[in-house]
């Protein structure tokens, strides 16, 4: 099963590589990993998407807890949550494809943020599934390059992950 683990960690050198190291050393999967400082600059928040059986996910959360830099963590997939990912994608846009690209961007509620005679650069935000669907839809036009941020997420409701 896919799990989204949110981690608050000390904003210190080495913290990220400790997490990455843990995953490679123990053979756990990482689908994506994003990290940036929070409103409290001493803390970073990491969102890590991983897959595994319940036993493995339990081990992953326990091992993450053990890292001295980790302040708190939660498995967002255990409760209601919101998940978003952002993608920048550059596609070929000449002739009929230009119109088609524009139409697809509208349907997916994306934005064209850079235009040349032959290309569009598109920004699209949503769940990973939505981004996947957009890629499939626009693939035929010719993708020049794309960059995805990886998922970021928070739980719904009053509670929050705080130190």
């Amino acid at each position: 099963m896919r799990h989204i683990i949110s981690i608050l960690l000390e904003n210190e050198a080495g913290a990220l590589s400790r997490v990455a190291n843990l995953f490679s050393a123990r053979g756990y999967n990482i689908d994506s990993l994003t990290v940036a400082p929070t409103e409290d600059e001493t803390l970073s928040r990491m969102t890590l998407v991983t897959r595994g059986s319940e036993d493995i996910i339990e081990q992953i959360t326990k091992q993450l807890h053990k890292l001295v830099d980790v302040v708190k963590l939660t498995d967002l997939t255990e409760g209601q949550h919101i998940e978003r990912e952002m993608m920048l994608i550059k596609v070929r846009a000449v002739g009929a494809a230009r119109e088609e690209a524009k139409r697809l961007v509208d349907i997916f509620r994306g934005r064209i943020i850079d235009v040349t005679d032959t290309t569009y650069a598109i920004e699209l935000t949503g769940t990973g599934d939505k981004l996947d669907a957009f890629i499939e839809a626009i693939r035929g036009l010719g993708i020049i390059e794309l960059a995805r941020t990886g998922a970021s997420g928070i739980g719904r409701g009053e509670k929050g992950l705080r130190a």
Partner: protein, 584 residues
């Protein structure tokens, strides 16, 4: 030099030494080099913290580790950058695998050169990260004291382990005011200490309902200073107790309730009891693969209680029924109190039947060996060592057959007496570890049981032993083979002894003498006891005893890979195994 005024500005190097003094550090095991020279200069200017010069940085880490294992206090290491820290890695990983508190300091190139491939630069924190509990690179002298405090705090609390602090040379030259905090509080690090009362209640309920109970304990009981509580708990219940290789001495080895070590080379009775028990109480043990054998065949009838300070150890390899996170001593004291308060007793009838079964397994006499041999049997040497030292020596070991024989035949009645690399299995550990033990207890009998292959891996430390007059007694079980490797090749590779033969060995007696020690050569069974007695009489000399042992002796019992606890290979000298009993 009076440094106690808070207002005095100190260099990073002086501050470093002052921190160690205030931390109460007795010994630092180390080796100098360019990036650490400011620190070494500061070490020179004082004599409160004693620096022990080893001959190879691996020796420093193992010596500090031996000191820590014997005392429970953190071992401290100081090395230079580059090759200094890379040489230390094996020792750090050894300590990490056995949860030993070490604080390792390394010099680093100056901060402005970091990343430039400077002379003797290596990404030290990157190298140690996978084998330390935590590490730090100190970039500002103002952070140095607090970092040192944190390092000791992290190394010694919760599940202990090595912590590495990398200190660039310029940081040791910069000045700042000295202030060493009494304690630290880290929001991201809060080890659990007390067990959950609800879980303890459940565990006690299960323990008292057992018909075929088994208590299985590991290194956590030793590290957690819980041997007394364990002894009380086991005796209160009258249940059989087994220890892992790391846990020996936590329960008295001569107590009739002790059924010996378990696992790959555990006793027949311990392993059979594991297989057939209906309630297993695991305390401070981590279900290592050398303990469990094939997981599919592990404890098929048991409900399992697991007490451990590290939540990540629980249900890692084996799913458990009652997990309890907490310090082993606290949890066992709570259990004892709960059992007493309940006024209940274990099922005496069931327990009687269970002990009858255990005695039948014991009668197999699985550790028996050929006592009439013309050759020196390695087991015999350990038996004699046990007798001659009255069972009260510190015994360190290296890795191989000799390690298993020492574990099987020396009966440890106290914790922290048996000192070996169980997790990483590091050849070369034994002698430097013995140095650390001897520094901690100058008057104690410290012995090192080793093999001719292992001892050569840190042989240079004989020179350190000479410099500091360490009267260690080295028992070299010399079978002219990497015995444990040879045994596997005999059993599993059709006797193709690929590179397990130790050709061109030195004359160990002469070698010891050339380092300034006493050497002995013993090749007759009749001389074993006399040699040991003579060596032990030399209270102020290191004695290297080279015992020429039976080349082909094997360690029994043995559980081969993929087998369960009930599927042991037994020695030809062992009695008939009893017929499999009917389970109730």
């Amino acid at each position: 030099m009076e440094l106690s005024q808070v207002n005095v500005e100190l260099t990073g190097a002086d501050l470093f030494v002052r921190c160690l003094q205030d931390e109460g550090v007795e010994y630092v095991f180390g080796y100098p080099g360019g990036a650490a020279l400011h620190i070494y200069d500061a070490v020179f200017k004082q004599d409160k913290v004693k620096h022990i010069l080893v001959r190879h940085e691996q020796g420093a880490a193992h010596a500090a580790d031996g000191y820590a294992r014997a005392t429970g206090r953190p071992g401290v290491v100081l090395v230079t950058s580059g090759p200094g820290i890379t040489n230390t890695i094996t020792g750090i990983a050894t300590a990490y695998m056995d949860s030993i508190p070490l604080v390792v300091f390394s010099g680093q190139v100056p901060t402005h050169l970091i990343g430039d491939d400077a002379f003797q630069e290596v990404d030290a924190v990157g190298l140690t990260r996978p084998c330390v509990k935590h590490n730090f690179l100190v970039r500002d002298v103002k952070d140095l004291a607090l970092t040192i405090k944190k390092a000791f705090y992290i190394a010694t609390t919760g599940r202990p382990g090595p912590v590495h602090v990398d200190i660039p040379k310029d940081v040791t030259a910069q000045k700042t005011r000295y202030y060493y905090p009494e304690s630290v509080n880290m929001r991201s690090y809060n080890p659990v200490i007390k067990g959950h009362p609800g879980q303890i209640k459940k565990a006690v309920e299960l323990i008292l309902s057992a018909k075929r109970p088994m208590i299985y304990t590991g290194g956590g009981v030793v590290l957690g200073e819980a041997a007394e509580a364990l002894t009380e708990l086991v005796r209160l219940l009258g249940y059989p107790c087994t220890n892992t290789l790391m846990g020996l001495g936590a329960f008295p080895g001569t107590d009739p309730l002790f059924v010996g070590m378990l696992g790959m080379h555990g006793t027949y009775e311990a392993n059979m009891a594991m297989h057939e028990c209906d309630v297993l109480v695991a305390i401070g043990a981590r279900f290592d693969d050398r303990i469990t054998g094939d997981l599919n065949k592990f404890c098929p009838y048991a409900r399992i209680i697991h007490v451990d300070i590290d939540p990540a150890s629980i249900s890692k390899n084996v799913p458990v029924d009652v997990p309890i996170v907490g310090n082993a001593a606290n949890v066992m004291k709570d259990m004892i109190a709960a059992i007493r308060a309940s006024g209940r007793k274990p099922d005496q009838e069931a327990l009687k039947a269970w002990w009858k079964q255990l005695q039948a397994w014991r009668a197999v006499d699985c550790l028996n060996y050929d006592r009439k041999s013309e050759l020196i049997k390695p087991q015999f040497v350990i038996e004699k060592l046990y007798e001659v030292t009255g069972g009260d020596a510190f015994v360190t070991s290296d890795v191989g057959q000799h390690q298993m024989w020492a574990a099987q035949f020396y009966k440890f009645n106290k914790p922290r007496r048996w000192i070996n690399s169980g997790g990483l299995g590091t050849m070369g550990f034994g002698m430097p570890a013995a140095m650390g033990v001897q520094f901690a207890y100058p008057d104690a009998t410290v012995t090192c049981v080793t093999g001719e292959a292992s001892i050569l891996m840190c042989i240079q430390e004989l020179s350190t032993c000479k410099q500091y007059d360490l009267p260690i007694k080295i028992i070299n079980l010399n079978n002219r083979y990497m015995g444990m490797v040879r045994q596997w090749q005999e059993f599993f590779y059709d006797r193709r002894y690929s590179h397990s033969y130790m050709d061109a060995l030195p004359d160990f007696k002469k070698m010891a003498e050339s380092y300034g020690h006493v050497g002995m050569f013993i090749d007759k069974p009749g001389d074993v006891e006399g040699a040991l007695k003579e060596a032990l009489k030399m209270k102020d000399r290191l004695v290297f005893m080279d015992f020429i042992t039976d080349q082909k002796e094997n360690v029994y019992p043995m559980i081969a890979a993929g087998s369960g606890h009930h599927e042991m290979h037994l020695s030809p000298s062992t009695g008939e195994a009893p017929a499999k009993r009917e389970l109730a």
